[in-house]
């Protein structure tokens, strides 16, 4: 008998607001320990939190993007526990009245689309970090008070592949909404995996919670490990313990951290230092109106409106800063297919070749669109085009000036082409013979000679026609 894998996620996304959730300190990653700390985020006696409204707006953005219900009124609660990285000994979070409830995340695996339910999204503050060395532990509160959204899904995932697809989609949404940098390695995207097994259609099994997953790859490996571990236990007639487990990616295995019996009682209660948050319809409407088009919406539109292939659409949306450039070039040149070809081909190649971060691209859409128009109209050939794109990319040259200067415009002067054809034929009698003997390969060789003669600027169609005419005479 088979087991069905049932997985739900708790994802913590660090928000990229400028300042922390309850004070004016910077949220920037890193920094000297305790250099981005004030009485509020250090939890000094007498300090009080002051809510950064950008956090609420970011939460609403994500909620709308995931089709959640947005609470008209929500509250913060205190989650109480002692730990050295938590200077107030409570974390301000949301339990009783979270900002978003319900919703869904569409994932695509194997060409199939599936909706994963979202239980809730809530806002909370991050804790600090403990720095251990040989004989002591130090506290760094820089991260205290960095805003987080916790996204809790329903147990709708059935495989590691679905989870990875879900996380990639979620990360993409966070990036396109401009609310998080989604970096798992820096801890700005953190994933806890709840996994259980059950007989297909049967009652739910006992679940475990997996922590310390620092990459998508680790998530996939940990899920596979846990699925196997639980399968072995159940197949041998054992019972799975409800527990929190810690993934060790170096060892490729997990170990139990704490069981349900050690579960802490967090003594949640409404945070009395903050007033309830009211989100009125006007604010909601404004945030909704300002929502950017998301990656999957763009892909759909590119396929529908521009007849691009799914692969092209995927490359165009693989980084947030590409679509804007693509859309501008497509609009200015009036040649979306050619523009897509430019972006997915030459530009992507140059990005990789020069190790440029897509967000640092400073390309002028006007120059690129002029170039696209030239190639589409047949005024330059492919090799001249490629050379000019590279010059625009690396040096920001003006394409028309560059083409003129380098003489890259296609030659349409029949006499010049005829002269080049005659010269090539005269210089390569052997090839001419081969061609006439039926060796088509020789035609390509002669084409190359003519083009070389023309400095690469010959119109290939014209050259081909005239060369055949001459040879077939």
């Amino acid at each position: 008998m088979t087991w069905e894998t049932v997985i739900g996620l708790e994802v913590h996304a660090e928000l990229s607001t400028k300042s922390k959730i309850f004070c004016g300190c910077s949220t920037e990653f890193g920094g000297e320990p305790n250099s981005r700390v004030c009485p509020v985020c250090a939890g000094l006696p007498g300090s009080l939190p002051k809510l950064n409204l950008a956090v609420v707006e970011y939460a609403v953005r994500l909620g709308l993007a995931l089709n959640c219900g947005i609470a008209g009124r929500c509250e913060f609660d205190r989650k109480n526990y002692f730990y050295p990285d938590l200077p107030k000994a409570y974390q301000v979070s949301q339990l009783y009245a979270p900002i978003c409830r319900g919703g869904s995340l569409d994932i695509e695996t194997g060409g199939r689309v599936k909706a994963i339910g979202i239980r809730e999204i809530h806002m909370e503050e991050d804790a600090g970090k403990l720095l251990h060395d040989a004989d002591r532990t130090c506290m760094d509160f820089n991260r205290c008070g960095v805003p987080l959204l916790e996204i809790v899904t329903l147990p709708d995932f059935r495989s590691g592949a679905e989870v990875i697809a879900g996380l990639e989609r979620l990360r993409e949404i966070l990036l396109y909404l401009g609310i998080s940098d989604g970096k798992m390695q820096e801890g700005s995207l953190r994933v806890d995996v709840n996994l259980s097994l059950r007989r297909p259609g049967g009652p739910p099994g006992v679940r475990t919670e997996m922590k310390n997953l620092n990459s998508f790859k680790a998530v996939g490996r940990a899920i596979e490990y846990e699925r196997r571990r639980q399968t072995e236990i159940l197949d041998s007639g054992g019972a799975v313990w409800q527990e929190t487990r810690r993934w060790d990616d170096d060892q490729g295995e997990s170990s139990g951290l704490r069981s349900k019996e050690d579960a802490q009682d967090y003594r949640y209660f409404p945070e009395p230092d903050l007033l309830p948050i009211e989100i009125d319809d006007a604010w909601l409407a404004r945030i909704r109106a300002d929502l950017p088009e998301l990656a999957h919406q763009k892909r759909e539109r590119y396929r529908r409106d521009y007849a691009l292939s799914p692969a092209e659409a995927a490359i165009l949306t693989s980084h947030k800063s590409i679509p804007a450039l693509f859309e501008a070039v497509a609009a200015l040149s009036g040649e979306p297919v050619e523009a897509a070809r430019l972006m997915t081909g030459e530009i992507m190649r140059l990005i990789h070749q020069t190790d440029t971060r897509p967000e640092d691209l400073a390309l002028d859409a006007g120059k690129l669109s002029a170039l696209v128009a030239l190639v589409a109209e047949g005024k330059i050939n492919r090799s001249a085009y490629k050379e000019t794109v590279e010059a625009v990319f690396t040096r920001g040259v003006d394409p028309e000036a560059y083409i003129a200067e380098k003489g890259l415009a296609m030659l349409t002067d029949e006499n010049a082409v005829a002269a080049a054809v005659n010269a090539a034929a005269a210089e390569n009698p052997e090839a001419v013979r081969d061609y006439r003997a039926g060796k088509e390969k020789a035609f390509g060789f002669l084409m190359g000679r003519v083009m070389k003669q023309l400095g690469g600027a010959g119109n290939p169609e014209m050259v081909k026609k005239m060369l055949r005419k001459t040879l077939d005479k």
């Binding site: 009485p39 007498g46 300090s47 009080l48 002051k50 002692f82 003594r267 009395p272 230092d273």
Partner: protein, 487 residues
């Protein structure tokens, strides 16, 4: 000099009849003379205060408009943060704690040209009604040093009663300004929740705490309240839009004022002398033209449990940060992290604080939350609604502050329930977030002061002060000073 009101002192300084430094010196001399007797002051900053007096004097002489209290010395309860100056909450836990920032109220005093001369004794972390629970020993009542000063702002009330300071700040979570004022025969105002910033007030119970003034007259208190009230971007719960402005006195009449008198507050546990004095005050207000009408105060049996559940729940969370790791007391015997927590907190907190932390942790724990905390929140909503209804009928409610006068030191130390019952008339005002003014209204047979409170609807401080001012014009209870040491 101690005979003069704070407002008169400031006027004399502005008229160059006195200098700010002379005034500060005179009060500090007095603290040095009688301070040990009352144990009201924990810290006195002589040098700093004198330097500050010089600055203020220069600003006044330069013609700067400061405030009607410019140049007046003031002292703060030791749970109100003062940057660079120890703020101990009268706890071993914070015995050496020096804040890096000042409370909003403290900053406002400075801006108004007042001179902070010291910090005042209290119950540990403001938990108590007698100012006996602090690590620095009990505050003694200036009217009878064998008796308590009330609490938790006992030092703030006793220092004013003993003429060691003309004005002070206390904090009121369940009666902690009003009750010591009643016990010490001085005047105090518990402002509406959200009228004075709590930024820098070391929290006991966040949804109930409020800083307020204590002085010798309602005029002085009102002037101080207008200095410390007002919006503060650092406290989201401080919802007032501008500082209070207290107008001039309305004469000696209360015509048209509808005062409710809760009949059931005068049955049961109240001492006969307290009842007599408060009812006499009610008659006096009626004689001044007020329409005094009796009514039945609802929910009285629920207010103390609701208050202690909510206050202790919040306290258990607020006081969790004192873990021995970052600041404050750390047990020398602790070897592991859990020992640092357990021993530092066991040794650093006193019995009453530990009692409230444990009670609060219990009512919030899963399995008890609904039965206690949630029910207390529901009760709180009912109390608010009941007050809303009452303020449809009355402008103000007149009630005793406490069922007894000041009792002997040590009497209630081992009977917390008896002590908690003493909060019966005050805690509902905090649960509903309302303002109340505490006024001296007589003495018991032993010569100990009796106090009354006038409770108003939210942000009605100006009306409350107006009525209290009329009462103080018609009576002289607030002008009496403790025997022997009267100045």
């Amino acid at each position: 000099m101690p005979d003069r009101s704070a407002l008169a002192l400031s006027a004399a300084i502005k008229a160059k009849k006195l200098s700010a430094a002379e005034v500060v010196s005179a009060y500090i001399d007095r603290i040095e003379k009688t301070g040990k007797r009352h144990n009201a002051f924990l810290t006195v900053f002589r040098e700093r205060a004198l330097a500050r007096a010089g600055e203020v004097q220069a600003r006044i002489e330069a013609g700067e408009e400061l405030s009607p209290l410019a140049g007046v010395p003031v002292a703060l309860k030791d749970n109100i943060s003062t940057a660079g100056m120890r703020t101990s909450c009268a706890s071993k836990m914070l015995e050496d704690y020096v804040p890096v920032f000042s409370a909003d109220a403290a900053e406002r005093l400075e801006r108004a040209g007042m001179i902070v001369v010291g910090k005042l004794n209290m119950d540990e972390f403001a938990m108590g009604g007698s100012s006996e629970t602090g690590v620095f020993g009990p505050v003694r009542n200036p009217w009878d040093v064998s008796r308590v000063a009330g609490g938790s702002s006992g030092g703030s009330a006793a220092a004013v009663a003993a003429c060691e300071i003309p004005l002070s700040l206390g904090s009121d979570t369940g009666g902690s300004i009003r009750q010591p004022c009643a016990f010490c025969g001085v005047t105090g105002i518990k402002p509406t929740y959200g009228a004075v910033s709590r930024y820098g007030l070391i929290a006991y119970a966040s949804s109930l705490d409020q800083i307020g003034p204590i002085g010798r007259s309602v005029d002085d208190c009102a002037a101080l309240l207008s200095v410390i009230s007002g919006p503060d971007g650092r406290d989201s719960t401080c919802v007032i839009d501008k500082p209070f402005e207290f107008g001039k006195t309305r004469g000696e009449r209360l015509d048209g004022l509808k005062i409710g008198l809760p009949r059931n507050y005068f049955d049961g546990g109240i001492e006969p002398d307290v009842k007599r004095a408060v009812l006499a005050a009610a008659q006096d207000m009626a004689a001044a033209g007020a329409a005094v009408e009796e009514f039945e105060m609802p929910l009285t049996e629920y207010v103390i449990p609701a208050y202690y559940i909510i206050a202790c729940a919040e306290a258990s969370s607020n006081l969790s940060r004192y873990d021995g790791l970052k600041y404050g007391y750390r047990s020398a015997g602790a070897k592991t992290l859990s020992e640092v927590y357990r021993l530092s907190r066991s040794e650093g907190f006193g019995m009453e604080v530990k009692r409230r932390i444990m009670l609060g942790a219990f009512v919030l724990s899963s399995g008890h939350y609904d039965a206690y905390y949630k029910k207390a929140l529901h009760t709180r909503a009912l109390i608010r609604a009941a007050y809303d209804g009452l303020f449809g009928r009355f402008d103000m409610i007149l009630s005793p502050v406490a069922p007894t006068t000041a009792y002997p030191i040590g009497e209630n130390r081992d009977d917390p329930m008896k002590m908690y019952r003493g909060d019966i008339y005050t805690v509902s005002v905090n649960l509903a977030g309302l303002p109340a003014v505490s006024l001296p209204c007589g003495f018991d047979g032993r010569g100990m002061p009796v106090g009354l409170q006038l409770i108003g609807k939210a942000f009605s401080e100006e009306a409350l002060a107006g009525a209290a001012r009329v009462y103080q014009r018609r009576t002289d209870w607030h002008t009496r000073k403790p025997g022997g040491e009267a100045g």
